[in-house]
């Protein structure tokens, strides 16, 4: 596991940023009867997510250390399986292989919530499972349709090149949309996420927010846009609209939450709205901004959930009213929490700013009013984050639980430092993150600008 991050380093150092082609490709037959192959490879879009995933896995294991005292081996095994399956998703070049990984990744997360979760864990686990499963059935049907239409290929790259008429494109796009929208999650299929987060153990929330939410967005880039480009253009208005609803509506909902985890969960949905908004404006700035936002959200939302977990481990409550004046007893923690709260509010010099900045700027060019709606997050995002911070951290000591708090230990300090380095590093110098994307993003934009209708 800890070597897990080490083996991903050559992915970055050995990556050739000048080509949009798939790199580090592996290909061996898996089910020859249906021409299904174990076909892996990465490009500038997926590479960063493999590294992020391995990084977050370390954070999760450190976060659970000494905290999880029930079935420790199984807990860690669950996260390692999860990590492997998520890597599989980001690296799959075969549609069926992707599908298997995509579905299989539900199982460990389902178990993590269901076994190590909070009091309503069974309800949350079921809701999570059913929502996502419902979406992916339509996805499977589309995959089979594409297999048949392409004359017996499950290769995603073949599908990219395959001409498809407008009507089937629309159906394929909509089927993909249902599957991916649930995962992102987009309004109105987002309600599973707050419940899942609330009941999940801290590690589960971190993986869910940092990596699992990226799967749907990644699916749009790997499947929807290149396979059904004409439908994507046709329906881009719908997607932009749903993204703006996520940003504005969910932002307001986050404002009134009383449970910290729910608040951050809603804030995650709002931030993912920037990702889908960035995709469907079809500009390099917007698309790369969306990708930056995805990576950045991994650091920040992961860190926010970890901060809440640190407090939960001590007080066993996630309710804002049960806190107040935490800074008096946990000053070091309060400083980290401040950093991540500001990152969540999109303060420049943190990674949270970069993605939002790029997407908002791209949106002004796309349509002024879209940018206007998206930019309200500057106000609302700051409002819900800082209001929570004020009620939890500032003030006089609220009650005897807070008075008894012990400041973070060196393990927690390490975890928070790792995440802080990520969030700050990406904010101060985002260039290394974006320069590996350029070729792939430009190729994708060039590809979807060409009609597939014969």
């Amino acid at each position: 596991m800890r070597p897990g991050l080490l083996v991903t380093i050559p992915l970055y150092t050995g990556f050739d940023a000048t080509t949009p082609a798939m790199q580090f490709v592996e290909l061996s037959p898996w089910i020859p009867r249906f021409n299904i192959n174990y076909n892996l490879g990465v490009d500038g879009i997926s590479m960063l997510f493999l590294i992020l995933n391995s990084f977050i896995t370390i954070v999760v294991v450190l976060a659970g250390w000494q905290v999880i005292d029930n079935k420790i081996a199984q807990y860690n095994a669950g996260f390692l399986i999860m990590s492997g399956l998520l890597n599989g998703i980001f690296a799959s070049l075969d549609g069926m292989l992707f599908y298997v990984f995509f579905e299989a990744s539900l199982i460990p997360l389902y178990l993590i919530i269901g076994v190590w979760g909070g009091p309503r864990r069974v309800y949350a686990a079921f809701k999570f499972f059913l929502f996502t499963l419902m979406g992916s059935l339509l996805f499977l049907i589309s995959l089979i349709y594409l297999f048949v239409q392409s004359g017996g290929s499950f290769s995603i790259l073949d599908w990219h090149q395959m001409p498809i008429a407008m009507v089937p494109q629309m159906w394929i796009f909509l089927a993909f949309l249902v599957a991916f929208a649930v995962k992102v999650p987009m309004w109105p299929v987002h309600t599973w996420l707050p419940d899942a987060h609330v009941e999940a153990p801290t590690g589960g929330s971190i993986v869910l927010a940092a990596i699992a939410l990226k799967l749907g967005a990644y699916g749009f880039l790997r499947f929807s846009l290149p396979i059904a480009p004409d439908a994507s253009h046709e329906l881009s208005g719908l997607l932009v609209g749903l993204s703006l609803i996520a940003i504005v509506y969910i932002g307001l909902v986050a404002l009134v939450q009383e449970d910290m985890k729910k608040l951050v969960a809603y804030s995650s949905i709002a931030h993912m709205g920037f990702v889908t908004l960035g995709f469907f404006m079809f500009s390099a700035l917007g698309l790369e901004g969306a990708l930056v936002q995805m990576v950045s959200h991994g650091f920040i939302a992961g860190a926010m959930f970890y901060c809440i977990g640190v407090m939960y481990d001590r007080v066993h409550s996630r309710q804002i009213v049960d806190y107040g004046g935490v800074v008096n007893t946990m000053p070091k923690f309060a400083a980290f929490f401040m950093l991540f709260a500001m990152a969540n509010a999109g303060l420049p010099a943190t990674s949270g700013f970069v993605g939002e900045f790029m997407v908002i700027l791209a949106a002004v060019k796309y349509n002024f009013w879209v940018a206007f709606a998206a930019a309200t997050t500057m106000i609302v995002g700051a409002a819900y984050t800082l209001w929570m911070y004020k009620r939890v951290v500032f003030g006089a000591v609220g009650n005897h639980h807070v008075a008894d708090l012990k400041d973070i230990n060196s393990r927690e300090f390490l975890v928070l430092t790792l995440l802080a380095v990520g969030a700050l590093g990406m904010g101060l110098y985002p260039q290394p993150f974006t320069e590996v994307m350029h070729s792939s993003v430009n190729e994708l934009l060039r590809h979807i600008a060409v009609s597939k209708i014969l």
Binding site: N328, L347, L361, A383, K390, F394, A403
Partner: protein, 696 residues
């Protein structure tokens, strides 16, 4: 090449100081923290002087430090633009900051957050320098938000006080409303100029002067000038940061922070970032008369109406805060009149005398043992002579007494407005003229109440009327609360309302406190006389500020009438501006020293007006009830109605109930009792048999 290294040193030295004081604030002794922070800022100041001389010799610079991001066709860089405007700001920022750093040693000596405080103010200096030295909009926005962050941290420095943590959140959010406009303005710049680099943008600006954008397709009025839209959106950012109506509401509340930062951030430097920004963007604003009119009208409303509020304040810091708002209005008016150099000139003189007034107020607060109510003071001149003299100098500069620095800058603003022909300049002229009287009145009201007249300190406070007494009561409640629940009661702020015990006398403050007062008093007197000629008429700013002289010939007309600094001051003695200020001082003397019963009588006579002023024109109430309350209500409605009600309740719950219902039906047939199945079978056989038999 060497100069470029110096440019880097200017922001990085305070940053390093901030990191030493901040990251190790719990382990290092106090002298390490303040030495680190003060040396950082001192290095920045000395370096700025060197750079100033270099720029004055004609060596400007514009270039990147590193490439921050590339995406699509766009490149975003971190870089510096060092020209006359920048160095002026650098000198003002680093000098005032250095004075405030020294002062802080004395002011914060009893505070447990000493190291943290030094870390914040050094970090502020770094952020502000990044803002003024930027050569592009991205870095400008970085500095813009970073100073906002530090302001947030410092207003809430005494985080156990509920008023402080409310005030800092309010400050951040109101500033975010401004930034909302600002980022859209930046977006329009990028979309239409293809770059965020100042030089590239300014060079293209004249070509796009006539460009339009369509905001509301299908309507004639839906198409507006690109330049106007961009400039107004950018100016909305300035309205937040420089506290212009209606985004001014955060500044009076920011007085919850320790006094040194009220001087540094909320008077001298950060709040003038908006003024600096508009001056920096002069090549854009010059192309839009609409935007300039917008600027001048907002500025004149702020200048006059915020001055009125200063008249009724009784908290010494709040009087100075409203005076700051009003003076920021003056600067904004100057911007709207295309007199950018005059605005920067007033920014500079104001930075000195307003920092002086705030630090003097802080000195009074120390002398009064943290009583801030001017009604409890009086006659302090005997006990605090240095504070008294320096305050007098600051007040004289503020009201525009001839030969003092404030006179030169404020008189230039008034003259610029008088010759301006932009829409709104008539109203602006009225506002700035009336503002002169109001400024003189409230400044000397405070001065007389604090330093002259009867000694009212050292008595019990009960006799006082409603508002401040209520604040006292609230704070006392809070105080009790802190002692109940808080284990760490050292955190109770030294700014707390304690006051002098009966019979106790105020005392002069230690040298680290009064030395900065003296150091700031010097430029408050002389800088106007020295700088007016080169800055306004000697072409000091060269290309740093660009004015469309044909459309807005304000500066030419002023230059025509200018015959040297000495002549300007002597000439002013016979002008109405001087007599207005004189009248303000005289009236306040008559009201507060000669016949103290008059103000009470007026207060009683003007009940409704007084109530409106007392409630600060109801801006706060509107924001709290309508905006904050409305948004929370909307959020709750969307959550309970949308998410819980419709999506989870109706759709998800409905689907679950549907599946559940069908299952219930199906379950009915699977009872597990053999006789049910046997009966059903027999019944079925009978039914089928009879069906076939009957059909046959």
């Amino acid at each position: 090449m060497d100069m470029q290294k110096l440019y880097l040193l200017v922001p990085l030295a305070p940053l390093l100081g901030a990191m030493i004081a901040g990251l190790f604030c719990r382990v290092i002794p106090r002298w390490v923290a303040h030495t680190a922070a003060i040396s950082g800022v001192a290095i920045a100041f000395i370096t700025s002087v060197v750079i100033f001389n270099d720029v004055a010799a004609g060596n400007t610079f514009n270039g990147p430090v590193y490439q921050w991001l590339t995406s699509g066709d766009y490149t975003f860089e971190v870089g510096f633009m060092i020209d006359q405007l920048t160095v002026t700001m650098m000198l003002v920022v680093t000098f005032v900051s250095l004075m405030v750093h020294i002062y802080t040693i004395g002011y914060m000596q009893d505070d447990p957050g000493y190291n943290r405080f030094f870390s914040y103010i050094a970090l502020f200096t770094f952020s502000m320098l990044m803002l003024v030295m930027s050569n592009n909009f991205m870095q400008l926005f970085f500095g813009w938000e970073a100073v906002g962050l530090v302001s947030y941290l410092l207003i809430g420095f005494w985080y156990t006080r509920p008023t402080a943590t409310l005030a800092n959140m309010k400050a951040f959010l109101v500033n975010r409303v401004g930034d909302f406009g600002f980022i859209l303005g930046i977006g329009l710049v990028l979309a239409h100029f293809g770059s965020l680099d100042y030089k590239t943008v300014f060079e293209q600006a004249p070509d796009l002067a006539q460009a339009t954008i369509t905001l509301f397709p299908g309507f004639d009025w839906g198409t507006v000038s690109l330049m106007s839209a961009t400039c107004i959106l950018l100016f909305i950012g300035a309205m937040g940061k420089s506290a212009q109506v209606p985004l001014h509401v955060w500044l009076p509340d920011s007085m919850e922070g320790p006094t040194p930062i009220s001087a540094l951030i909320h008077a001298a430097t950060m709040v003038t970032a908006g003024i600096f920004m508009v001056a920096r963007m002069s090549p854009l604003f010059e192309l839009s008369d609409t935007a300039l009119s917008f600027v001048i009208i907002i500025g004149s409303i702020t200048a006059l109406f915020m001055g009125f509020l200063g008249v009724i304040q009784n908290d010494i810091k709040r009087v100075v805060a409203y005076s700051t708002l009003s003076q920021l209005g003056y600067m904004t008016v100057a911007l709207g009149a295309s007199a950018y150099s005059v605005a920067i000139f007033h920014l500079m003189t104001h930075a000195f005398f307003k920092a002086l007034l705030f630090l003097a107020a802080g000195s009074v607060i120390i002398g009064m043992h943290h009583d801030q109510d001017i009604r409890n003071m009086g006659g302090l001149r005997k006990y605090m002579p240095i504070t008294w003299i320096t305050s007098l100098i600051g007040s004289l500069a503020l009201i525009g007494t001839p030969f003092f620095s404030g006179f030169y800058s404020k008189d230039s603003i008034i003259e610029a407005v008088a010759v301006s022909h932009i829409f709104g300049s008539g109203f602006a002229y009225f506002s700035v003229m009336a503002g002169v009287f109001v400024t003189a009145f409230y400044s000397f009201r405070m001065y007389f109440l604090v330093f002259h007249g009867e000694e009212r300190f050292g008595k019990a406070h009960e006799e006082h009327g409603h508002p401040v007494a209520a604040v006292h009561a609230k704070n006392d409640d809070h105080h009790a609360e802190v002692h109940d629940g808080d284990l760490d009661d050292e955190e109770v702020s030294p700014d707390h309302h304690h006051g002098l015990a009966p019979g106790q006398k105020p005392h002069e403050t230690p040298w680290v406190v009064w030395l900065p007062l003296v150091m700031l008093a010097i430029p408050s007197v002389v800088i106007g006389y020295i700088a007016i000629e080169p800055m306004l008429y000697g072409g000091f700013f060269k290309d740093a500020i660009s004015i469309n002289a044909e459309a807005h010939p304000v500066m030419e007309e002023l230059a025509h009438e200018f015959h040297g600094a000495f002549a300007m001051a002597t000439h002013a003695l016979s002008s109405p501006v001087f007599w207005l200020a004189f009248a303000g001082v005289a009236v306040s003397w008559f009201f507060y020293l000669k016949r103290p019963e008059i103000p009470t009588a007026i207060k009683a006579a003007c009940g409704p007006i007084y109530t409106v002023l007392e409630n600060k024109y109801y801006f706060d109430k509107f924001n709290e009830v309508v905006l904050a309350g409305g948004l929370r209500l909307l959020g709750r409605g969307l959550w309970k109605g949308g998410d819980v009600g419709v999506i989870d309740g109706l759709i998800v719950g409905g689907a679950v109930r549907l599946v559940g219902g069908i299952s219930m039906l199906a379950r009915f047939f699977q009872s597990g009792h053999i006789y049910h199945y046997a009966f059903t079978m027999i019944f079925g056989v009978c039914a089928l048999l009879s069906f076939w038999l009957l059909r046959a």
